[in-house]
Amino acid sequence: MRRRSAVKTLALAAGSTLAGKNLAQASTSGGDENLAATPESAAILVDTTKCLGCRMCERACAEANGLPEPAKSVEPGEQRDTTETQWTVVNRYETESGPVNVKRQCMHCLQPACASACLTRAMYKTDDGPVIWRGDKCMGCRFCMLSCPFDVPKFEYHSANPRIQKCKMCFDRLQEGDLPACVSGCPAKATVFGTRSEMLDLAWSRVYAEPDKYVHHVYGEHEAGGTGVLYLASVPFDQLGFRTDLSQQAYPTFTREFLYSVPFILTMFPPFLLAVSKATAGNRQEEGEG
C-alpha cells in the first residue's frame, strides 16, 4: 500500500507537471503571436507643426464611431485626456516657440502592453497594425489600463455592461479601403496615413529638409518599443505633455523573464519536493499518514 501511494503521488505530480508545462510553453512560445508587427503595418504620422487646432478630427472620429459630438468650445489652456466617449482630443500647449496643437489618441504600439496583458486576448494587435478591443472576450479586469504606458484604454464605469473604449485606428474603415476618419477629416494635412516604414521615411525626410523647424526626434520611433502613431514637433516633446521617460524596450518584455521562469518552476519543483519529502520521511513516527 505504501508503494502504491508513492506511485500515485508520482503520477499526480507528473500530471501536474505536464499540465503546467503545456501552459508554460504556451505562455512563452505562442505568447507573442498577436504582438507581431511588420514594417508594412498601418501607421499615422502626426505633424504638430501643421496642426491648426481646428478639432475637425475630433468630430470626424465621433461621427465615424457613433460617439457623442465633442464639446463646441474648449477652455484655453485646458489639457484634456481622451475619454470613453472621445477617442481623440487636440490640446493646445503654450511653448517657447508659440502655441503648438497636439492630437492624442491610442499609439497602436508595435508590441502593445495592453494586448500582452490581456488574459482573454480581447485587446488584440491585428496583423494590419491597429490595436482593437473585442467585447465578446473581455472580462473587464482593466489590466490593460494598468499596463498601458500611455494610459489609453478607458472603461465605462457607469454601465452595467461596460466596455473598454479607445481609438481603433478605424479598423473597419481600413478593411474597406478607407482612411482613418481623423486623417481624412484633417483639412491641414497634419495627419498622414500609410505603412509604418513610409511614415518613418516621411517623418525623417521632413526633419532633414527643415532641421531648424523640427526637433531631431520622431516620437514613437523607439518609445515603448515603437508605436504605430508617430509625431513630429518643433519643440522638445516633454513640453507637449508627452512622457519622455518611457522605456525604449517593448513593454511585454518586462514580464517575459517572469514568464520564462514558469516552466522551470513547474517542472523542477514537484520532483524536488517529492524527493525531499521521501528523504525526510524518517522524521515521521511510524503511524498513519493523516
Binding site: 479586469c141 518586462f254 499518514e289
Partner: protein, 420 residues
C-alpha cells in the same frame, strides 16, 4: 466490494440519512444574538444593497475607481493582500508534508482551511471587480488563451490551487460526514496535492507582483523594482505565518472547546517555531529590500515625504517585528510574538497597498481614496469568510487532531474487516 448504483435502496437510504445529518448540521450552534453576529449581519446586508447597485449601475456608482486608477481597494486589499495572508497554508504544508516536521501537524488543518476560504472569498471578490464577469470563463474554457499575460497565469493558478487546497482539506470533510473509505482514498492524494499546491503558490504569489512589471512608470521608484515578484514571494512566507500566529491566538480563545489535547499541549512551542521562521524570512526580505534600494541608487527619494513613508514601512513594520519575534522567542513571551505578528501583518498591508494603490501614480494631483461602499463590501467579504470558517470549525475535526488519531486507529482496525 458491492457496487453502489442509484437504484439500490441502500443508496437512497444513505442519501436521506446524509440529508438529515446535513440539515442538523446547518442549525446554528450557540447563541444567535451576539455582538459579532449583529454587526456582521448588518455589514453583509448593506453590502448586498451596494452590490445590487454596483451590478445594475456599474462600478462607478459605488467605487472611486477612475480612468487613472483602474484597480482600487477590492484588488489591492482583498486580492493582493488577502492572497499574501493566505500564504501560511503552503508554507505549513511544506514544513509538515515535505520536511516532515510532525510538531506542526496539529495546526495544518486549520491553516489549510483558512487558506482555502481566503482564496474562495478574496479571490472570489475579484468577480465583484470585473466589469464583465460573465466572460470570466473565457481564459479557462480555452476559446481565448491570453498566454502572454501574467494575469492568465494567476487566474489559472488561483483555480488550480483552490482545488489542491480542497483536496488537502477533504479528509476532514470525509471524517465529519463519516465516510472512512473515501477518507482513506483522499488521504493518499494529500502529498500530491501538497506538492502541486506549493509549486503553484510559488508562482502565483510572485505572479501577483509580476502584474506590476508593465506599470513600471506608474509605481513610485521606492516600491517599484524588477524584483517585485521575488519580494512578493519571500514576504508571502512571513505574511502567511504571521497570519497563522495571529489567527491561532484568536481561534484558541473563541473555539477553546474544539481544541484538541495535542494542539493545547504544543501550542506555545509551535508558535515559537513559527516566530523563528518569521524572523528569518523577514531578515531575508529586509536584506533584499536594502540591496534593491542601494543597487537602484534610490537615495535621492529618501529626503521626500515618500521616503519617510518608505522608511516607516521598512523600519516600523519589518525591522521592529524582527526584534520582537527574536526577543519573544528567547524570553518565551507569546504576547510579544503576537504583537510582532500584528506589526508584520500591518507591514504587509502597507506594502501591498503602497504598490497597488498608495504609491501607484504617485504623481497625480488627485489621489484615489476608497469610498465607504468599497470598505463595507471588503468588510462583508471578511465577515462572510469568518461565518463559514466558524461553521466548519464548530463541526468538522479541524482543531483537534487527537480525534483524527483515534479515527485512524479505528480505521486501521476496521480496514481488514471491510476488505473481507
Amino acid at each position: 466490494m458491492a457496487t453502489v448504483t442509484a437504484d439500490t435502496p441502500g443508496f437512497w437510504n444513505g442519501t436521506r440519512r446524509f440529508g438529515r445529518f446535513l440539515a442538523g448540521e446547518m442549525k446554528p450552534r450557540g447563541r444567535i444574538i451576539t455582538p459579532f453576529n449583529v454587526i456582521t449581519i448588518a455589514i453583509m446586508a448593506v453590502a448586498a444593497v451596494i452590490l445590487y447597485i454596483r451590478f445594475t449601475q456599474g462600478l462607478g456608482a459605488v467605487t472611486n475607481l477612475s480612468q487613472d486608477v483602474p484597480w482600487g481597494l477590492w484588488i489591492g486589499f482583498d486580492v493582493i493582500t488577502g492572497v499574501a495572508f493566505a500564504g501560511g497554508a503552503y508554507v505549513l504544508c511544506f514544513m509538515v508534508y515535505i520536511l516532515n516536521q510532525e510538531k506542526y501537524h496539529p495546526i495544518v488543518r486549520v491553516t489549510v482551511l483558512n487558506g482555502f476560504l481566503a482564496y474562495v472569498f478574496y479571490a472570489g471578490a475579484l468577480l465583484l471587480d470585473l466589469g464583465r464577469p460573465w466572460n470570466v470563463i473565457n481564459p479557462i474554457i480555452g476559446n481565448s488563451f491570453g498566454v502572454s499575460s501574467v494575469l492568465f497565469l494567476v487566474a489559472w493558478h488561483f483555480l488550480l490551487y483552490m482545488t489542491a487546497e480542497l483536496l488537502e482539506f477533504a479528509p476532514a470533510i470525509a471524517e465529519w460526514a463519516g465516510w472512512p473509505r473515501l477518507r482513506r482514498w483522499l488521504n493518499r492524494l494529500t502529498l500530491g496535492a501538497v506538492i502541486f499546491g506549493i509549486t503553484l503558490s510559488t508562482l502565483h504569489q510572485s505572479g501577483l507582483g509580476a502584474l506590476y512589471m508593465m506599470a513600471r512608470d506608474k509605481v513610485h521608484p521606492l516600491w517599484y523594482s524588477e524584483f517585485i515578484p521575488i519580494m512578493f514571494f519571500v514576504s508571502s512566507i512571513f505574511a502567511g505565518l504571521s497570519m497563522v500566529i495571529f489567527e491561532g491566538s484568536i481561534t484558541h480563545r473563541v473555539f477553546h472547546h474544539r481544541v484538541g489535547e495535542d494542539l493545547e499541549r504544543n501550542h506555545d512551542s509551535i508558535v515559537r517555531g513559527l516566530a523563528r521562521i518569521c524572523a528569518g524570512t523577514l531578515f531575508v526580505y529586509l536584506f533584499l529590500q536594502v540591496l534593491v534600494f542601494v543597487h537602484g541608487q534610490k537615495w535621492e527619494y529618501l529626503a521626500t515625504g515618500w521616503g519617510a513613508w518608505y522608511l516607516l514601512e521598512m523600519i516600523g513594520f519589518v525591522l521592529v517585528p524582527i526584534g520582537f519575534f527574536l526577543h519573544g522567542v528567547a524570553k518565551k513571551r507569546p504576547r510579544l510574538i503576537g504583537t510582532a505578528a500584528v506589526l508584520t501583518l500591518i507591514g504587509i498591508v502597507l506594502n501591498r497597498l503602497n504598490i497597488s494603490v498608495i504609491a501607484f501614480k504617485w504623481y497625480l494631483p488627485v489621489r484615489y481614496v476608497p469610498t465607504w461602499q468599497e470598505i463595507v463590501v471588503t468588510l462583508a467579504v471578511l465577515s462572510a469568510e469568518i461565518w463559514v470558517f466558524r461553521w466548519v470549525v464548530n463541526r468538522m475535526p479541524v482543531l483537534d487532531s487527537t480525534y483524527v488519531r483515534a479515527e485512524a486507529v479505528e480505521e486501521a482496525n476496521d480496514a481488514p474487516a471491510s476488505a473481507a
